[in-house]
Subunit: 354 residues, 2 copies
Amino acid sequence: MQSTKQTSPPPLLRALERLPADRVPVWFMRQAGRSLPEYRAIRGSESILEVLKDPELSAKITLQPVERYGVDAAILYSDIVAPYVSMPLELDIVPGVGPVAGAPLRGPEDLGRLRPLDPDRDLAAMAETVDICSCALEVPLIGFAGGPFTVASYLVEGRPSRDYLITKELMFTDERSWHSIMASLVDVALAVVGVQVAHGAAVVQIFDSWIGSLAPRHFNRFVRTHLEQLASGISDLGVPSIYFGVGTAGLLPEIATTGFAAVGLDWRSDLGAAAERYGDALGLQGNLDPATLFASEPFLLDEVAATLRESAPAAGYVFNLGHGVLPATDPGKLADVVAFVHEKGLALRMEGSR
Amino acid sequence: MQSTKQTSPPPLLRALERLPADRVPVWFMRQAGRSLPEYRAIRGSESILEVLKDPELSAKITLQPVERYGVDAAILYSDIVAPYVSMPLELDIVPGVGPVAGAPLRGPEDLGRLRPLDPDRDLAAMAETVDICSCALEVPLIGFAGGPFTVASYLVEGRPSRDYLITKELMFTDERSWHSIMASLVDVALAVVGVQVAHGAAVVQIFDSWIGSLAPRHFNRFVRTHLEQLASGISDLGVPSIYFGVGTAGLLPEIATTGFAAVGLDWRSDLGAAAERYGDALGLQGNLDPATLFASEPFLLDEVAATLRESAPAAGYVFNLGHGVLPATDPGKLADVVAFVHEKGLALRMEGSR
């Protein structure tokens, strides 16, 4: 645990409300996991789906990066497809591959296999994990769920894809089934984050990693209303929401109007331009290229500084990477980034606004 | 061959000079290749590197889509790494994998292996292929070379990559070697397109497919000057240039000022916004999602129409997909797209500008 008590409310929540905080909050996507030796020490070799049945272990993994780095948030250790494991989809998460569905959703005849969740049965272990984390943490816990397009891409393709061709074919040729699937996935996401928030999560991030594979007009036609539902549902839970996808530079004008409190950018988006354009109305999070962690320390810290300066026009800003921590990342470098953001973040954001 | 003689100059060249033409020009990235039965009939199973040693066969493959579709350009059948095959890189193009370099470039000690090309030895077959195509064609032949970042990514990683981590590590940690590699790759690209133009190519496209993996500030620091050199070198050859990369929505403001005559957009970029912002000074090409070819005919043609309308603010516009034709694409659909663009293109662009 962190040794110092947070002032209240914590910097992450202040930033997401676009209010000044006494430091720039920082956390890392995939901060828990393979880059940490203490994770590898307790993780074992079974599927993540097995680990998630063990709340004590899942909570330990969730808390490790907070203990090591002093980041401003924990993020629940889980997976976006985990809530679907009890449905007849033959779902597995294969190491080195990703989510695999042996019985994918391909048309109207498959829709019945997307059942509503029964929180008491399907989310009991998750609820217990969140309970343990919330008790132990002095910083906010971020809950999360998968964005409906990204989850759909796994459940429709049956495995990770390069071009999402089966998903798009369904979307383009059977709009009715597509919208039905998306609506079901939003229901599941809201059930998941509902339990997380009820048990103590203070923020919700939606990981819609592959949304950036869509043209802006397809986003508007096939995804927008579902994201609006999701954002509004999270808002009803009384917690701020962050929406993240990879390669969303072309979609940002669309995403900005779906109703999420904040948007996470990857490193290919121009943070400065986004802050200028959306920073009054939207919290921004990001967007350091995870590959810069493999550069020298001076190069890395120059990059962190540049990112902080670029963020200046955003009223609410959370430092993060532009995608998940890469497995081979040196945890020492991440610790240095946290220290640097905490020490110099506010000054560099001031500098950027001059 | 096409049965009708083109008016002179052809629509593609008019569009790239941002001048009105009597129809909207259209061609498809990867229009030659696996989606065509006549290609599969003559292709055999050897590596593309073997096929490229046979100018008659390479030319036949280049001409096939012009004969079938009546597109407004042929694009030379070749590969961006083919010019490197005689260098000590142990280069191969492995079916289902892509370019593989058994002896990749990893640091200063490897720089000597990037030799200047000897056009008479290294590019003789390519020159002969271009000769045959130029004689046979009534539409312009597009020559091409790889963009230096993308070629570097193959030669440094040694194989196709997801995160370009080895490439970026070299770029971030040994800027001198990086710039030296990039300068050599630009020299090779200019030698390649120089031969193509000398033998009759009327346009040059630079395929820098993976440039979209870079943050805007890394593009400016590590790539910009090399692209400026390349654009200026092509301009000296007296032909228009098109620069294409995937996922460049965030880089477009940077790419727009490198000196290429036109930029190809993928489908994730907002063509309408780009046309509005850059369409006076820059030709634009693109950007239909190749996955829409798997939709129904009415859906597909609506998409083509929407793309044409969005292009309206661009003075010079070339219809194309936002990435290469997918191998499973029905050639009949592509033929319908060509007919539609030729028949309705000008009217829809007029409609879009109202």
